[in-house]
């Protein structure tokens, strides 16, 4: 079955979405991530969506669910790389991703994760 790879970097998990996801693939990622957070005791999740040229309500909901899910499993989530056109479209669509932390790029996202986890 098709899957999006989840990489472990110390106490963080790193996901780079590089394919045009169909809905089942997004749901599989959601399940896989919760299992990996549990199995690795990860403290943070970084999701890079810079390769996504579109985020619709389904993917938006998946991002929100992952963020909420990881929070109750004691892990922080940061979404990075939202393209400007995608961001504008998301807001117009009516999705502002409440409760989801974002950063401009991977470097800033990792910094944010380290700060959050370090100060806890």
């Amino acid at each position: 079955m098709e899957r999006i790879p989840i990489l472990q970097m110390g106490q963080f998990l790193l996901v780079t979405i590089q394919v045009d996801m169909h809905d089942q693939l997004a749901l599989t990622l959601q399940d896989d991530l919760s299992e990996r957070i549990s199995a690795t005791s990860a403290r943070g999740v970084l999701i890079d969506i810079s390769a996504l040229d579109m985020v619709d309500s389904f993917i938006g909901r998946m991002i929100g669910t992952i963020s909420g899910l990881s929070r109750i499993m004691d892990a922080e989530t940061v979404v990075v790389g939202l393209q400007p056109a995608v961001a504008i479209t998301l807001v117009e669509l009516g999705l502002t991703l409440p409760g989801v932390s974002t950063a401009l790029n991977v470097e800033r996202g990792m910094k944010l994760l380290r700060e959050r986890v370090g100060t806890q």
Partner: protein
């Protein structure tokens, strides 16, 4: 108004939603659409194609590249023979959903395009036509 080219694409299974998005992207590029307009249109296509598949039980997407004077546009019709929408007003309310979604599909798609037309009746299927001009 003249039709420069047209075609039809099936929207039956999940992978077809991805194909519909990719088709809309290709056609938007052919129209010379700006990236921001293209992104909005492709996102609207994703919402509507998913509705066709999930709520309409599958259907088709008709596409047309149209010309009206100096402007070029892409017009897409999503049609299914499904149960139709009993209460259009309710369906066009932000946050209302008959399924498990966020209820942003129809209303969100409407905000992302220049023209939006919904034609449906209980038992008579659903047709949604959207147009985005360059």
């Amino acid at each position: 108004m003249t039709v420069r080219s047209s075609g039809t694409q099936p929207v039956r299974v999940e992978q077809d939603v991805v194909m519909a998005r990719q088709m809309a992207r290709k056609l938007s590029q052919e129209c010379g659409m700006r990236l921001i307009d293209l992104t909005k249109l492709v996102t609207a296509v994703s919402e509507l194609a998913r509705n066709t598949m999930v709520y309409g039980g599958g259907g088709d997407m008709d596409w047309q590249i149209i010309e009206d004077g100096a402007r070029t546009g892409l017009r897409l019709t999503f049609r299914d023979e499904g149960p139709g929408i009993p209460d259009i007003k309710l369906a066009m309310t932000d946050g209302w959903t008959s399924g498990g979604g966020l209820g942003l599909g129809l209303t969100g798609a409407k905000r992302l395009v220049d023209e939006f037309e919904l034609d449906t009746a209980p038992g008579a299927g659903t047709r949604v036509t959207i147009t985005r001009w360059t």
